[in-house]
Symmetry: D2
Subunit: 201 residues, 4 copies
C-alpha cells in the first residue's frame, strides 16, 4: 500500500467518512503547504499530550499543566452535588452545558448500548459509573439518565436501572415532548402522549 492509500485508509475510519472523502482529505493535505501538515501533526500530538480524562466524570479535558485529575466542571464546588447526569458522550455533555440549564455533575458513559449488545461492560463505563456513584452516594438525591430519545438510549437507560436496582437513589429520564420545530401532524403517538402529559401554563 503506498502512502496515499495508507493515509486514506486511516481517514476512512473517521466518523461519517467513506473511502472517497478520505482520499479527498489526502489530496487536500498534499495541496496545502508544509506548515498546514505540521500544524495538524502538532495539534494531534498536543491533544494526546495535553488532554486527559477526568478521573470523576471521564470526559476529556485540557490539563494545562495542572496536576489536578479533575475537569473544570468536576472541580467546581459550587455546582449541585445532589444531581448526577449520565450522558453517552462528551459531545452530549457539551450540548447540555451550552443550554445552561443544568448545574449538577456529569458522568460520561463513553457510548450507548445497541439492543442485544452481548458485552455491555466493554461498551460503556458501567464499573466506573458504579465507583462514581459510590463515592457520592450520601449526597446524591437523583441520577438523571441523559440518553438520546431512541431505542439505543432507552436500552442503555434500562441496563443502568437494572444494574443499580438495589440503589436507594432515584433514576430519572429526560422529559419527552415536542422538540423545537416538531409538528403535530408528524409526531408519533409517544411524543404526543408526553406532550399532553407535560403541558404547562
Amino acid at each position: 500500500m503506498n502512502s496515499i492509500d495508507k493515509l486514506s485508509e486511516i481517514f476512512s475510519h473517521f466518523p461519517g467518512i467513506g473511502p472517497r472523502q478520505a482520499r479527498r482529505f489526502v489530496y487536500y493535505l498534499l495541496s496545502r503547504n508544509h506548515n498546514f501538515s505540521e500544524d495538524l501533526i502538532r495539534a494531534i500530538e498536543n491533544i494526546k499530550r495535553e488532554i486527559t480524562q477526568c478521573s470523576s466524570c471521564h470526559r476529556f479535558f485540557t490539563k494545562n499543566g495542572s496536576p489536578s485529575t479533575l475537569c473544570s466542571i468536576c472541580a467546581d464546588a459550587s455546582r449541585d452535588s445532589s444531581l448526577l447526569m449520565v450522558v453517552p458522550r462528551d459531545i452530549d455533555l457539551e450540548a447540555i452545558e451550552r443550554s445552561g440549564s443544568f448545574n449538577g455533575y456529569y458522568f460520561v458513559l463513553g457510548g450507548s448500548l445497541p439492543i442485544l449488545e452481548k458485552e455491555p461492560e466493554k461498551r460503556i463505563r458501567i464499573s466506573n459509573l458504579e465507583i462514581r456513584i459510590n463515592k457520592d452516594w450520601e449526597k446524591l438525591k437523583e441520577i438523571i439518565l441523559g440518553m438520546n430519545a431512541n431505542a439505543e438510549g432507552e436500552n442503555t437507560a434500562d441496563f443502568i436501572k437494572e444494574k443499580f436496582k438495589n440503589l436507594d437513589i432515584p433514576f430519572t429520564t429526560l422529559g419527552r415532548g415536542l422538540s423545537t420545530g416538531a409538528e403535530l401532524e408528524y409526531a408519533d403517538p409517544e411524543t404526543l402522549k408526553n406532550a399532553l402529559l407535560h403541558r404547562s401554563k
Copy 2:
C-alpha cells in the same frame, strides 16, 4: 390554454405539488381508463356533498344522511367537557386522536398565524373559537393550545392568549422535550431545558 395545461395548472395548486408533478398527474389520468376518472370525479363530488364542517369544532366530517350538525367527537357525550384542545388543522386533530391520549373536545382553527400577520381574523377562526368557549365556559377548566413547536405555532398561541386574556379559564401549551428519535447532540437549548424540566422517574 389547452385542457392538459388547464388541469396541470389546477393540480399545481395542490399542497407540495410543482408544475412538473402536476403534469405527471394529468398524464397519469389520461393513461388510466375512463372508470378511474369517473371514480375520481364522483369522489370529489361526494366529499363536497357528504362532508360538512362540524358546527362545534369546525372539523370536516361525513354527514351520512344524519341531520346532526355535530361530528362524532363533538356528539360523544362521554368525553371530558372540562378540556378543550385548540389545533391548527384537521390533520393535527387526527394525529392526536390516533395517539389515543386525549379525551376532551377539540376546536380546529383552520390554520395558524405567521409572524406579523396583518389580518389574523381572516386566517384563523378566532370568532368561532370565542363562540365555542362562551358556549361551555362554565364546564371548561382548561384550554390546551395544541400548536406546532415552531415560531408560527407560538405566535398563534400568543395571539389566542392575548385575545382571551380576560377569560377566567387557564390556557396551557403542549409539553416541550425530546421528541422520539431526538439526540442530545443536535437538540437546541430550549428543548434541552424542557427535557430537564420535565424529567420523570
Copy 3:
C-alpha cells in the same frame, strides 16, 4: 369507507403520492371553495373529452373540434419523415420538443420494460410501433431509440432491436457522455468512455 377515505385512496394512486399526502389533498379540496372543486371536475372531464391519442404517434393531444386523428406534430408535413424517434412516454417527447433539436417524427411507447418483464407486449405498444414503421418503411432511414440511460431503457432498446432485427432500417441510440452538471470524479467508466469517444473540437 367514508368519502374522505375514498378520495384519499384514489389520490394515493397518483404517481409519487403516499397516503399522508393524499389525505392532505382531500383537506385542501375541502378548504377551497366550491368553485375550485367544480373547476377541477370540469378540467378532468375536459381532458377525457377533448384529449385523444394520436393515431400515428400515440401521444395525447387536444382535438379542438377537428376531425383529424393526428396530433400537431404528426400532421406537420414539413418535418423530416426519414427520422422516427421512439420514446417511452409523452413527457419524454415534450422534453425533446422543448430542446428544439429534433425535427423528425415520434412514437410514444407508453412505458418501458423492466428487466425480465414477462409480458412486454402488454407493457409497451410494440404492435402499434410495428404498424407505424410499416406505414412509412420506404421513407424511414433511421429509427432513434430515445430511451433513458438506465437498465430499463437499455432493456427496452434491446427488446425493440430484437423484435425488428429483420428490418432493413438502422436503429440508433442516443449519445452517451457527460450530462450538464456531471463531474469527472463522480462519473462512471461507461460515461467517461463515451465522453472520450464523442469528444469534439
Copy 4:
C-alpha cells in the same frame, strides 16, 4: 484556544467538514488508543516525505526512493504521446484511469476557474501547462480539455483555448450526452441536443 478547539479548527478546513463534524473527529481521536494517533501522524509525515509532484503532469505520486521526477504514467513510454489530456485535479485523473479508456498523457491543472476569476494564473498551473505543451509540441496532435460539464469547467476550457489560440494543435472537449442513469424527462436541452448529435448504432 485549548488543544481540542485547535485541532477542531484545523479539521474544519478539510473539504466538506463543518465545525461540528470536526469536533467529532477530535473526540474520535481521543477515544482511540495511542497507536491510532501515532499511525495517523506517521502517515501524514509519510505523504509529505514520500509523495512528490510529477515534473511533467504535476500529479502527486510516490517516489519510492527512485530519483525519477516522473510519475508512473509519465514515465511509461508505451502510452500515446500524440494525446494530452488536461484535467482539473488528481482525483479526476484517477477516475479516467479507472475507466481504462484513455491511453495518452495527462496534465493536472490543480483546480478550475470560477467565472470572473481575477487571478487565473494563481489558481491553475497555466504556465506549467505551457511548458508541458512546448516540450512535446512536435508530437502532440490533440489536447483534450477534460473538464467537468459545468460553468466552471467551461470557463476553464475557454480560458485555456484563448491562452493558446496561436498554437497549431487542436483542442477538443469531452463529449456531452446522457450520463449513465440520466432520464430524458429531467435532461436539459443542451444534454438532449448532444445526445441526439452523438447518437450511434
